[in-house]
Symmetry: C2
Amino acid sequence: MTVKKNLEVCFSPALLHLYDTKGKVVVIIDIFRATSTITAALANGAEKVVPVASVEECIALGASTPNSITAGERNGQVAPGLQYGNSPLEYPEEFISGKILNLTTTNGTRLLHQVEDADTIIIGSFLNLSAVCDFLIAQDKDVLLGCASWKDRPNMEDNLFAGAVVRKVQSYFDIKCDSAMIAGSMYDDALRRPDLLSYLKVGSHYERLANFGLLKDLEYCTQVDIHPVVPILKNNALVLEKVTTI
Amino acid sequence: MTVKKNLEVCFSPALLHLYDTKGKVVVIIDIFRATSTITAALANGAEKVVPVASVEECIALGASTPNSITAGERNGQVAPGLQYGNSPLEYPEEFISGKILNLTTTNGTRLLHQVEDADTIIIGSFLNLSAVCDFLIAQDKDVLLGCASWKDRPNMEDNLFAGAVVRKVQSYFDIKCDSAMIAGSMYDDALRRPDLLSYLKVGSHYERLANFGLLKDLEYCTQVDIHPVVPILKNNALVLEKVTTI
């Protein structure tokens, strides 16, 4: 009998020290909007996405890398000095195909740099939910689902996505993690609403982005499985992994 | 028009620095089992419960305080050197009435000492759920529901209780806190199960305590409103507050 691998969920980067990431597959989750944007940009043909911690570093990298653009946000809005924002709708195929995207965001890219000792780091969003689940099942390694949260406070949308993954892969993993159970329970509750976005309307992030006129982004980011790809970190950049079908 | 007060939920002591506790009513939540035990002991006539950080301090206090007993646990079991454990069933009226209980636990009493700048600190458990909610509504102050968690990892039962409070008081408060929404969603999901305990069976704490033969404690701690009292911190001890009915 094969022993099942473990799966855990971490609600906030401020709790990451409680989890061991070494040797694990870590899924970075920042639904509104970093990991949705990364998924969309790569699915639409971006050569790679380079996650960058600071705005300054992003500008410098953009200047030194041919055929690349700078993008990112601070506090939900385009950061001064960068060319583009953190909206997946800014990166349709006709614009982003073949380009390198240097990206810095409030929460998502920071978390990515916190888990560097992981075996594998991939990017999760509702846009590529099933592709991520298939990948996790095929890897047969311990998994940590890492929610980027909002300035270290747990948020609805990242936890909800973690819950969706938990429910889809739970028969393949040994899950002894209350955060995973909490997330799964949220997802069960969300499935009783008309759609994911209406479930997320009571979330603080929904209000924040809707106030910025970004309702279309929220609608885009809650579509399920429109991009069957797995962004994976290789040589400090996110590129597309060929999806392994089980 | 009166402006509603805020209510927030903190899932773990490791996230407490993200919340302001000054001037607020803080509800300490450690369902399995510290806050259930405190509620039961006071409801059954204990003169007061003195929360103590260390086992050593607890032993010293027990020796110097007439008519008092020492109790507590580390890692879910009676701590060596203490007279009693952290089970609410150890404190029936015929034993505890009139006595002082010096108590130290893994998570609950620690959290209590972390929020000392709060305006008011009370104890929440399913045993006194409605009494706690009535008290919060009557106070008309900002509220923080503080989950003791398990060694800083969010746990199911504390978050579930927070969700029960959120659902019962939400029309009286302005709630802009994703953790509160997550907890409320869990509670909505739990209400679809036969009872709270069956919902909590997938939690790590359930398994841990059941393995210690403490299933009766789990059953006791998930009873709702059997003790309509509000334990409140006054002069470094928990005593009964007269419940204010609205």
